[in-house]
């Protein structure tokens, strides 16, 4: 068993707690029941457009960041709070390996926990359009990758990552982007939304990021955060 596998296994075992399962189940239930409501609504409106609008708001804007926050911020955050990070940090293994395995283990749980409910909701809400479903699934994977990187970093940067994460999601991603259109382009949500719209080929596309730009941006955010986490692990005082 290599060092990386050891770390990855440790982090993965710590991802799943009953509280988080309930949270993921809760979001899935809310998304699916809302999608069901849209599906059964009588007026004939552009199904795909309404599905995308709904999932950009509730899915990419709320479900994915919250689930990613709860999982990723605790991967290293809990170790800092329980003062057990020293047992990994003080070993003769490279620090980037700790950061990378933390990021990947939280992503590996967040992706299925968001892609499945969001994809199914898209399918339902858009009245069975597989293309919209795939587009939303891809967008939520990308968003999960970026958010997990960001919140893994938050776990080692601040004392209460959950609170700061929620502030980030509700203040930066929703409020500010709504108020100042320009800033909106910098949020992970806008990249993910751009990808879902472009892949689904629905709705006004001008002014949205291009597909490659969105993918590269999110991957850059993810890997960039791993780099910052490594730098922080080297610099911080360990209990």
């Amino acid at each position: 068993m290599s060092k990386f596998q050891g770390l990855f296994k440790l982090f993965s075992r710590h991802q799943m707690t009953t509280g988080r399962l309930v949270l993921i189940g809760g979001f899935a239930f809310v998304l699916l029941s809302a999608a069901l409501a849209i599906n059964r609504s009588p007026e004939d409106l552009d199904r795909s457009r309404s599905a995308l609008d709904f999932l950009e708001g509730m899915g990419l804007g709320l479900a994915v960041p919250i689930i990613a926050l709860v999982l990723a911020s605790s991967t290293l955050g809990d170790l800092v709070e329980d003062e057990t990070l020293v047992y990994l940090w003080h070993r003769p293994s490279p620090r980037w390996m700790i950061a990378l395995s933390a990021w990947l283990s939280s992503t590996a749980v967040t992706v299925p926990a968001t892609v499945i409910p969001l994809g199914l909701s898209a399918l339902l809400a858009s009245g069975g359009s597989v293309r919209v479903a795939v587009a939303v699934a891809a967008a939520s994977t990308l968003a999960a990758v970026a958010y997990c990187g960001l919140f893994t970093l938050a776990g080692v940067m601040v004392r209460k990552p959950l609170v700061w994460g929620l502030l980030y999601v509700f203040i930066w991603e929703t409020l500010l982007t709504a108020l100042f259109g320009g800033l909106g382009r910098l949020s992970i949500r806008s990249y993910a939304a751009a990808l879902s719209n472009r892949l689904a080929g629905v709705g006004p596309l001008q002014g949205l990021h291009s597909v490659p730009a969105s993918i590269i941006a999110c991957l850059l955010i993810g890997l960039g955060c791993v780099g910052l986490t490594t730098w922080r692990l080297n610099k911080m005082d360990i209990a």
């Binding site: 809760g26 239930f29 029941s33 069901l36 409501a37 059964r40």
Partner: protein, 288 residues
């Protein structure tokens, strides 16, 4: 005769009478009440209590002010329960969500539970004390305002006519406050028994109250499921029952839910939640 004395500064034994379990319970309740209302604690602990009292009493005081200044105001008991719909229920939700969790969670986190269990209290009497404290807190915001108004109107002479009518209104108000207070106490204590962190309990309570309302509404109206589902609405159930007590069919109608089923729902939830709290505390390993 020497006028100098050296007094024994040593330890004074206490041979007076001890107040037993009754005294311990009273002390627990008084201490918990003071702590919940932020008395004897830093200012920031007083914000929520003051807020809840303000939200619940202000409308009543305003209405009384108007009635006194301009006379008139409704004579029959039509509007005593209306406060339960808005101002009181907001205050009650705030109280249940932010203050009730601190009754149980902080004792476990700060090790005070271990001290209580080593005192004449034991697990059942401890929980009884905390439940009584919670009911007192909730009655503070649910019983106060309507009684204030009843008193105000009576003094104004526009209250319910006749002694029998007055007593009936009084009993209805007390019953409604007790229903709301007891029901939410049980729900609040049950959720607070699951975690040490009161902040998590607060979030869960708010989530549970709101989610149960939305989900039951969606399921009953949208998915056309049987109306009995409404019994799972943690806010709607008690409030509707209060309206039934005041035999009004106002905005919270639920006409297709018979009154007995509402009572059954409330009693069922009480047994479920209080049973859960007891089961949880019976086996709780007090390591702290």
């Amino acid at each position: 005769m020497s006028d100098a004395q050296i007094f024994d500064q040593g330890y004074r034994t206490y041979s007076g009478e001890r107040t037993g379990l009754k005294g311990a319970l009273r002390s627990l309740i008084v201490h918990s009440l003071r702590a919940s209302l932020g008395l004897g604690r830093k200012a920031r602990h007083k914000i929520v209590p003051v807020l809840t009292v303000a939200i619940s009493y202000l409308p009543a005081i305003i209405i009384l002010g108007i009635a006194v200044l301009f006379g008139g105001g409704a004579a029959d008991d039509a509007n005593y329960y209306s406060y339960y719909d808005n101002s009181i229920s907001i205050a009650v939700i705030l109280m249940v969500a932010f203050i009730v969790p601190q009754l149980l969670c902080t004792d476990r986190r700060t090790g005070l539970l271990g001290v209580y269990l080593a005192s004449p209290l034991n697990r059942p009497t401890y929980l009884l004390g905390k439940a009584i404290t919670s009911i007192i807190l909730l009655l503070l915001v649910t019983l106060g305002p309507p009684l204030l108004i009843l008193l105000g109107y009576s003094l104004q002479g526009v209250g319910p006519h006749g002694f029998g009518q007055w007593i009936e209104t009084f009993i209805k108000i007390v019953a409604s406050s007790l229903v709301l207070g007891l029901f939410l106490t049980a729900v609040g204590l049950a959720i607070s028994a699951t975690t040490d962190r009161w902040a998590t309990a607060t979030a869960t309570i708010i989530g549970a109250l709101i989610a149960s309302t939305i989900v039951t509404e969606v399921l009953v109206t949208e998915a056309k499921l049987p109306p009995a589902i409404r019994l799972a609405n943690l806010i709607g159930l008690p409030i509707t029952l209060i309206h039934r007590i005041h035999n009004d069919v106002g905005e919270w109608s639920y006409t297709d839910n018979p009154t007995w089923s509402l009572w059954l729902g409330v009693v069922g939830w009480l047994c479920l939640t209080l049973g859960f709290v007891w089961a949880r505390y019976r086996t709780l390993l007090v390591r702290r």
